[in-house]
């Protein structure tokens, strides 16, 4: 047999042989290779949500893995599936990342059964981030609804760790009921140690609840907003950030200073599967963090 065509081995390309680094998007790499990671701790937050502390097992990749507040990873349970999860921990943390996960579909239900020591797969980080450095020297308003506190927690850490870079910082958090409240063990610390004005509100109160009851927008009545000097980050269900952003627009904050994180179905994280597309925009690479002006211009975004 004569050889007419020579087999081409993509793995021999130099980019493929260099270490895996998802922050270098344009390089040819093993896009479906995961970082094997160990679940080092599991913290039960509510009936439905758990916080998973996950550590990349390979020392080299762990030291190389870096991300910015607002980015997400694809978390894989081999044999069960892969899901996009925003990173909840501080981006200065090099040891492990924290992922707050609600029990919903088959992958998350399976994950909720996992014990410490289980090995999962991680790809990423993917997506855009909150431009924290732009907010230096300004007031920051961090607003979350429900599970939205999970992605918001990364910028909160960033603010706390760089407290002197920011002026007045407010966190507004609303949930359906008191028992849905996430990370309540940290509120005291945020309030007192970090000098952040934290306010929580619930839609439906409970006997033990002494705080305010109502929609999250009502908390805005007590916040001083300096239109020229305030940045806002809003995470939550579309209906919630729509109302909040409209209210903040009324209060005079320019749309390009409001940032939201969009949730969409995702199967790749790399601008290929199109599941997260809004029009021609890929939520996974052009987002998930968008400024509100961009969102307004995305047809069918909200």
């Amino acid at each position: 047999m004569t050889t007419l065509l020579h087999p081409y081995d993509v793995t021999q390309e130099s980019d493929m042989q260099s270490p895996l680094d998802f922050n270098r998007r344009s390089r040819l790499k093993h896009v479906d290779r995961t970082f094997k990671a160990e679940i080092i701790n599991i913290i039960s937050l509510t009936e439905m949500e758990k916080l998973f502390q996950v550590r990349i097992m390979d020392d080299y990749y762990r030291s190389k893995f870096s991300y910015l507040p607002g980015q997400f990873v694809m978390l894989e349970l081999p044999g069960f599936g892969e899901i996009p999860i925003s990173i909840s921990s501080s981006s200065s943390n090099k040891g492990f990342i924290e992922l707050c996960i609600r029990k919903m579909g088959s992958v998350t239900t399976m994950l909720h059964k996992a014990r410490r020591g289980a090995k999962v797969g991680i790809r990423g980080p993917f997506g855009t981030h909150f431009p924290m450095e732009k907010m230096h020297g300004h007031n920051v308003l961090l607003i979350a609804g429900g599970l939205g506190l999970a992605p918001l927690r990364a910028p909160i850490f960033n603010v706390i760790e760089n407290r002197s870079n920011f002026n007045q910082v407010d966190i507004l958090y609303g949930t359906k009921s008191p028992k849905n409240m996430l990370f309540n063990y940290q509120y005291e610390e945020w309030n007192r140690i970090a000098d952040i004005n934290l306010q929580v509100i619930v839609e439906h109160g409970a006997d033990s609840w002494t705080g305010p009851v109502g929609m999250i927008t009502s908390l805005l009545d007590d916040v001083t907003i300096l239109p020229d000097d305030t940045f806002a980050i809003i995470c939550g269900p579309p209906i919630m950030f729509k109302f909040v952003c409209e209210r903040l627009t009324d209060d005079g904050i320019p749309m390009h200073r409001m940032f939201v994180s969009l949730e969409r179905r995702m199967h790749c994280g790399m601008g290929k599967c199109c599941r997260c597309n809004i029009g021609s925009t890929y939520t996974c690479i052009d987002g998930p963090v968008f400024d509100y002006w961009t969102v307004m211009n995305l047809k069918e975004a909200i």
Partner: protein
């Protein structure tokens, strides 16, 4: 680009030679429909006589040889609490014979998504580079509108490209491996008569029927986002995804994983999906970002004709109209575009 001519009998020898060595995929008639119209598909062939280079259009596009309907992305083997992930890419070369210009243009568009910018796909790259492509000119096919989207002519993206000059082919050579392969048989340098014959042949390939006017389509789409045209056509949509399956450029997909019954191994599988399917944009928890048929249909057209244009300055559509032919409900781009234009001037 180099040009040569090759006798048809020599070309047959060349194909025989290729078939001896590698897998050859070529248009093949697999039957006829109830109206007696021939049905062609790109299929592996083992003899030259199985190939029908005179075909009008294949039912399915050639994309599945680059983006298979189902593709194994990785496998895992489990050992107690641990697992090992394995990934492999295509290594075997193969020949794709008889592609029309629109299908090669489709690959060029896929190249833009799959081989550049963000996260080039090694799966695609390995399939693309392991495929030797021989294109061929043809008469325009009924219902096609490749000219309107500028996909009727192709200048790269193939190894060899043939134009039928009766007893011989005029061959455009676009790669060194194409040149090397040709050197195995007798080829001739082109003469002035060849060039003349080629130009005449090309001229004869101009379409004889009306194709849609697609100028300014991206802006028109933007303006007509809320147009009742979408409701009209959306009401017909069966949400079956057939259009995306036969489309030479639709690349949307889903990923799922399967684990063996004994939990000893698992694999991650990519399955091409379609934005017209009901759950394309539904998220866990139940919210569906595009729950209505018309929003899904609209999205498909926006992605093809507006979104892709914004990013790459050209539409994703190559005008083959396979989607229009396969759609039982008769949803097809020429008519929808016409409707939008009428709507725009109303």
């Amino acid at each position: 680009m180099l040009h040569k001519t090759i006798n048809k009998s020599e070309f047959r020898k060349l194909v025989d030679l290729l078939m001896e060595n590698e897998e050859v995929i070529a248009p093949k008639q697999i039957g006829s429909d109830i109206k007696g119209k021939a049905i062609h598909q790109y299929l592996p062939v083992s003899t030259f006589d199985e190939i029908d280079l005179d075909y009008e259009i294949t039912q399915y596009s050639a994309k599945t040889y680059f983006l298979p309907y189902c593709e194994n992305l990785s496998t895992c083997t489990f050992d107690d609490d641990d697992w090992t992930q394995n990934i492999s890419y295509r290594l075997q070369p193969r020949i794709l014979l008889g592609l029309h210009a629109c299908d090669i243009n489709a690959l060029l568009k896929l190249d833009k998504v799959m081989t550049r910018d963000s996260f080039p796909s090694p799966y695609y790259v390995s399939r693309r580079k392991n495929t030797f492509i021989v294109g061929i000119d043809h008469e325009p096919c009924e219902g096609g509108f490749c000219q309107a989207v500028g996909a009727d002519v192709v200048t790269h993206g193939f190894d060899l490209f043939l134009t039928d000059l009766g007893d011989r082919y005029f061959v455009a050579i676009n790669s060194d491996r194409g040149f090397n392969v040709l050197s195995r048989v007798r080829i001739k340098n082109i003469t002035q008569a060849d060039t003349k014959a080629y130009l005449e042949a090309r001229q004869a390939l101009a379409p004889v029927f009306e194709t849609p006017y697609m100028h300014n389509l991206p802006n028109l789409l933007d303006i007509e986002f809320e147009s009742p045209v979408w409701e009209k056509w959306g009401a017909k949509c069966l949400s079956c995804g057939s259009c995306a399956m036969v489309c030479p450029t639709c690349y949307c997909y889903g990923v799922g994983e399967r684990i063996s019954m004994d939990c000893s191994s698992s694999y991650k599988e990519k399955q091409l999906y379609s934005c017209n399917l009901l759950d394309f944009a539904s998220v866990s928890g139940g919210h569906n970002f595009r729950a209505k048929k018309e929003t899904r249909l609209k999205y498909r057209y926006y992605h093809q004709h507006r979104g892709f244009s914004e990013t790459y300055e050209e539409p994703l559509c190559v005008g083959c109209n396979r989607c229009g032919r396969v759609c039982l409900a008769g949803i097809n781009p020429p008519e929808i575009i016409k409707d939008l234009q009428l709507e725009g001037i109303r």
